[in-house]
């Protein structure tokens, strides 16, 4: 028996065969993978996983791929016990899941793209595509290059070219569309329908998003097969946050861990916080917003999984909070100076919101807390311009070094 049974609509429950489709024909709801957990239970064990590859593929029994061929070294990133930051915040068991060092393009996107393109190859696609100006484009272009797939990246034409150097280097075809982000999105969906390419966040999205579950699997294993009490994660489309929750649920389902599920605390930037607003106002739908924040990597104005993220926040007795641009910068600096980890604005948002929750008294000092750092600060250094201490200028003289640097 196969581990994957079908695709199923998250809204109306209609079932579909395992194909590169992502929208329910009846109610237009998103499709999700249905696993045969009884079958998986027979094959999976802690010992088998521990003997597996040091990558996300050690959890292949819970991923919708039979034969991984792309992104073979993605995942299995460090879980760091954050002693210094923990001390400063008054938390005795704070951990950082550090996807800023994911392979090969230094963000959690390497997980989802590894799964998406491995599946795309199984389906027989020879072309990968995405609409992105950041981490996703980097990852799709890199993985497509190593997999020998053709690659198309769609961006709005008014974007500065230096923003996409990190993708251009992998030699994809970059299509600059004369229009705004909405126009690019609409065109991408039309192209995905017509050309039969693997658009990672369109027609292979149900498979793609499953990659984020490995963020939960790895944390549980790295904690000695335990579920943390609290998770703090950024919210963009809402997919990562809901899949971390699904990951912990699945580990319990197949008997690899026991105990309570975590409280899911979510972080958004104040300048793009449609999920936070829906949660706060008790709405089950998202009012789209126009993003206005330095946290570009999580600035999604109309998040597809927003309603599901709100549901997870409620179900897990969690919460969602926001951070201002200033707080995000402070969050980046705080993580860097306490733990030596340089994250980008999404990570800054997570740390800023973690700090807020501690100040609000919503985390007990002895609880096991995991903050997810999803991207690398070396990619977006411009946000820190003018926000850091300047070098101390001196003449090449010992006396001046003593007086100006050492003091006295």
């Amino acid at each position: 028996m196969a581990k994957v049974k079908a695709l199923k609509c998250k809204e109306c429950g209609a079932e579909y065969p395992v194909e590169p489709i992502h929208v329910c024909e009846f109610c237009f709801g998103p499709l999700e993978i249905v696993y045969d957990y009884d079958e998986i239970k027979k094959n999976i064990s802690r010992e088998k996983i521990e003997k597996g590859p040091k990558s996300l593929w050690r959890y292949i029994d819970l991923l919708p791929v039979e034969n991984p061929t792309v992104g073979l070294s993605a995942g299995f990133t460090p879980l760091v016990k954050a002693e210094n930051l923990g001390k400063l915040l008054g938390l005795n068991n704070l951990y950082i899941k550090d996807d800023s060092v994911n392979h090969p393009t230094l963000s959690f996107k390497d997980r989802v793209v590894a799964v998406a393109l491995s599946k795309a190859k199984e389906f027989g696609f020879d072309t990968a595509a995405c609409a992105s100006t950041g981490n996703l484009a980097n990852s799709v272009a890199a993985h497509a290059a190593s997999a020998g797939m053709k690659c198309y990246v769609f961006i709005p034409a008014n974007l500065e070219t230096n923003k996409i150097i990190g993708s251009l280097v992998f030699n994809p075809v970059v299509v600059a569309v004369d229009g705004n982000y909405d126009d690019v999105n609409r065109l991408s969906s039309e192209i995905a329908n017509e050309f039969g390419w693997a658009f990672v966040n369109i027609n292979v999205r149900p498979f793609y998003s499953e990659g984020s579950k490995t963020l939960a699997f790895e944390v549980a294993e790295q904690l000695g097969w335990k579920i943390p009490n609290v998770v703090v994660a950024p919210l963009a489309s809402g997919s990562l946050y809901t899949k971390i929750w699904k990951g912990f649920n699945e580990l319990r389902e197949v008997g690899l861990v026991e105990g309570d599920l975590p409280r899911m605390l979510g972080a958004q930037a104040e300048g793009c916080s449609p999920i936070y607003q829906a949660f706060k106002e008790g709405r089950d739908f998202i009012k789209p917003v126009k993003p206005n924040t330095i946290a570009k990597s999580i600035a999604i104005g109309n998040p597809a999984d927003g309603p599901y993220a709100v549901k997870v926040a409620k179900e897990s007795k969690g919460d969602i909070q926001i951070a201002t641009d200033e707080e995000i910068i402070e969050g980046i600096k705080l993580l860097a100076k306490t733990e030596g980890i340089f994250t980008e604005t999404a990570g800054g948002t997570t740390i800023a919101v973690l700090k807020k929750y501690v100040e609000m008294g919503m985390i007990d000092k002895d609880e096991v807390v995991v903050a997810y750092i999803t991207g690398n600060g070396y990619k977006t250094m411009e946000v820190l311009e003018g926000k850091l201490e300047k070098p101390i200028h001196i003449k090449p003289s010992l006396a001046e070094f003593k007086s100006k640097v050492i003091g006295g």
């Binding site: 992502h22 929208v23 009846f26 109610c27 237009f28 998103p30 995405c130 609409a131 992105s132 100006t133 950041g134 981490n135 996703l136 484009a137 961006i155 709005p156 982000y181 909405d182 690019v184 999105n185 609409r186 991408s188 969906s189 039309e190 995905a192 329908n193 658009f199 966040n201 369109i202 027609n203 999205r205 963009a236 489309s237 739908f285 009012k287 789209p288 570009k296 990597s297 999580i298 600035a299 999604i300 109309n302 998040p303 597809a304």
Partner: protein, 80 residues
């Protein structure tokens, strides 16, 4: 003949306007509503526009010009 799955989101000040009716009268497309939630302060509809590409495009432009947010359903793609 083409079909496009779309989500229309109406801001509060546009809810009382019969915009979809105007689309039906002024453009040569069929509209197939699949899901909707219209309340005092916000309204959204998930629907299909069926017709030729040019007419669909014109209908979308009409709605956008009138302040309605028009998102693709097939492919909730995001640009970071």
């Amino acid at each position: 003949m083409n079909s496009m799955k779309l989500k229309l989101i109406y801001p509060e000040e546009k809810i009382k306007e019969p915009l979809l009716s105007k689309v039906c009268k002024n453009f040569n497309i069929d509209i197939n509503i699949r899901k909707a939630n219209v309340q005092e302060k916000i309204g959204w509809l998930e629907l299909e526009f069926i017709g030729n590409d040019e007419e669909i495009e014109k209908a979308i432009n009409f709605l956008v010009e009138n302040g309605v947010e028009v998102q693709p359903i097939e492919g909730q793609v995001f640009i970071e």
